[in-house]
Symmetry: C2
Subunit: 381 residues, 2 copies
Amino acid sequence: MQRSNPLGFRTFVANLGIKDGTRDFSVVASEVPCAAAGVFTRSRFAGPSVLLSREHLGDGSVRAVVTVSKNANVATGERGREDAAEVVALAAELVGCAPEEIAIGSTGVIGRRYPMDVMRAGIGKVEPAPEPDFQAVAEAIMTTDTHPKLVRATIGGATLVGVAKGVGMIEPDMATLLTYYFTDARIPAPVLDAMFRRVMDRTFNCVSVDTDTSTSDSAVILANGLAGEVDLAEFEEALHTVALDLTKQVAKDGEGATKLIEVLVDRARDEAQARTVAKAIVNSPLVKTAVHGGDPNWGRVAMAVGKCKDETDIDPDRVEIRFGSLTVYPADAPDLDALTAVMSADEVLIHVSLNTGHAQARVWGCDLSDGYVRINADYTT
Amino acid sequence: MQRSNPLGFRTFVANLGIKDGTRDFSVVASEVPCAAAGVFTRSRFAGPSVLLSREHLGDGSVRAVVTVSKNANVATGERGREDAAEVVALAAELVGCAPEEIAIGSTGVIGRRYPMDVMRAGIGKVEPAPEPDFQAVAEAIMTTDTHPKLVRATIGGATLVGVAKGVGMIEPDMATLLTYYFTDARIPAPVLDAMFRRVMDRTFNCVSVDTDTSTSDSAVILANGLAGEVDLAEFEEALHTVALDLTKQVAKDGEGATKLIEVLVDRARDEAQARTVAKAIVNSPLVKTAVHGGDPNWGRVAMAVGKCKDETDIDPDRVEIRFGSLTVYPADAPDLDALTAVMSADEVLIHVSLNTGHAQARVWGCDLSDGYVRINADYTT
């Protein structure tokens, strides 16, 4: 029978009472040292959790990932940095490793200190699950996600499990995309690091729910090697599949979102140009509202392409715009019924060919609904 | 008595039936040649109107500005360029000047050709107003603006009148910010050009309703010199005042907008840094929705500052954030009642000090409401 969990990992999940009665603390810990890699937000307001995790992953090895939800511990100054270090120390004690072997993620309100009293009282008492429970971890890291996000894969004799939470910087007062990967495959740290960056760059770095960047985005992978070596190409393929699945789940679960938008820009000068144009389209409020309304309004896509001012080799007379497989520009009389059908689907593909070269990029996002506005406007701190 | 209109201009306003029965065609023409300057969209999808106006203003002189509303004539290919040239020729005949002396602005649906039959039949029949009627011009260039935008000023013996329409790229399927200035002051073309660019850069280039850039934005000034010379510093001051007033009217009239947001970023390394951060704040959907909801959620402002990733000299520990005059970061216990009062006002000032230098920038925008989404999602082409 196929194992559903990677070997040698324990999971800890609890409610410490950080904000309410829901699960707000989780740890995934390996019984043995792991090769590890991480990718983090580039925000100038990156919080202590991001700074500590970056530091601890510097040598390509951590054994555990701790997540605090309901409080991001961001913009809390020197005391916030001390709090983060203390939480890491408490977690290290809990799992029996050195603080330097811990990566920490934190998500929730910005600008408030952790309630250290309840955390000091609670963390030491948290029990590991009798059997590793990654589903419970996926739930414990959620903030306003509507469902937990977990995907599994097997590569030869090894198992990979990935979890994710958050929807960009779209939640009322929350601020984080967290995604973690745990495997028992044996992969040298430098190889894992390069592979992880390649995969994150093509998946989570291509999702955009709104244009706002979190102060706490963190992506971490741990490989403890207990299942031995695997085919690296096969593993990277599986990692990409798992990460892309989670990426789409995140985009689809965007606050107020009703549709997944996939933007493919091809025949571009280079991948950078393709991505610039694709992000301009997927982030355009007018494109997002048009998709929400099921409106095949390709003029807004042309506008979004046009606003990439510095891509001076883009010639409007050579650009092609399609919704799904239907060409709308250039086109004299697009079939409105067919278009409306494409626009009414749960997943809408916007396909633009720039004809400036042969590179391409794909990005994912969601529509902009009044639900987004209501959630983010009516919420009061 | 103070003249309300500059000397030597005629105005023509009509409905040609381009889309409906509302005014859709206007011309402001000088009886004598004018020094002129223009600033236009940098969109790669800039329409034929923008391309023609840029060309005709190349020598620093046009005599008339023609505006077609309800159809932007953008992404219409070679035939669209021929149509624009023909409309300019018809307008030149109407006012009695050469086509090269005409600047043209066009706003409305993207991707549809002008209805040339009605335009050929109608333009020649348009009569000038017995007295110049700039109010009628301000109305004729509107698309979904809720009110015409016109401001006047006098500089010594000269008069300046400015009009504007549009709210960035925020209208359902419309795409244009148009703003025109007419004066009888005598100002040499090169001086006028430099002055106009300075003023536009500090006013209309600092307004942002959403992040979408129009394919047709055009700003043009005509100075026919009939009132003789004026103090240039005084004129620039007046031009700035008029343009800033129109800028704020445009921001406030944003689709679905209920509040004007002014963002002041000071103590910055240089003006470019100040503007980058200010635009990140004023364009953040989460900041815009927070302002809409009257929520003093400064964490979202910190997030927006933080997402200026490349401004590596910004140190979160040195940044100060204020709503109005109330410091919220760093601050242990901001006065929530006072904050709520500031956030509930019609105009909200977000003031950020970066403490990286001594430069500053101011930008203007509006809140994001469900009205914006409804207007842009429910509309169907």
